[in-house]
Amino acid sequence: AQSVAQPEDQVNVAEGNPLTVKCTYSVSGNPYLFWYVQYPNRGLQFLLKYITGDNLVKGSYGFEAEFNKSQTSFHLKKPSALVSDSALYFCAVRDILGGSYIPTFGRGTSLIVHP
């Protein structure tokens, strides 16, 4: 089975500083990787995905993620954090279930951006 791990339950960063939210993956075959964000009392929103091609993937709200095959990682990054980026971030990997492609999610990382 495909899986992702998010080693940090919480990440704290000051507004204006760069942020990184970590994710590592374990897959058989080529990985299809995703990041979703969940703002308080809201559903998950798709941020970006990696399928193939450039290792640096750009997504919504100024976020990007770097795919690193040798380190089996797909870390989410942003050059300058905003207080409004505070949310729960989920890494996910494509899995197959019932003949359908579905995301298998990590346990989430809470990002707190301090003013």
């Binding site: 559903g43 995905k49 989920f90 279930l97 579905i102």
Partner: protein, 113 residues
């Protein structure tokens, strides 16, 4: 326009009761899902329907019964509610079963007392 909507947003009920949660998507998608998010924010898939056909049923107790009257709607009925059913339930949709990017509803917060 709300893409994926759920009702109700909050649901507080007693153990043993039966309740339903409704989900509707106006994206024209073929595939819909129900997820359960526990108190530790872990997200687990429960069911998926593709064009009204059940395609995923992930070892969910049979007290949970999904129903899809058409491809734009996927409802979840829960019989004999238990304390452990307290969670946030998310509906989601995707264009088709081969597309893994999903669009989530706002969630239904269920509290069983």
């Amino acid at each position: 326009d709300t893409a994926v909507s759920q009702t109700p947003k909050y649901l507080v009920t007693q153990m043993g009761n039966d309740k339903s949660i409704k989900c509707e998507q106006n994206l024209g998608h073929d595939t819909m899902y129900w997820y359960k998010q526990d108190s530790k924010k872990f997200l687990k898939i429960m069911f998926s329907y593709n064009n009204k056909e059940l395609i995923i049923n992930e070892t969910v107790p049979n007290r949970f019964s999904p129903k899809s009257p058409d491809k734009a709607h996927l409802n979840l009925h829960i019989n004999s509610l238990e304390l452990g059913d307290s969670a946030v339930y998310f509906c989601a949709s995707s264009p088709h079963r081969g597309e893994e990017t999903q669009y989530f509803g706002p969630g239904t917060r269920l509290l069983v007392l």
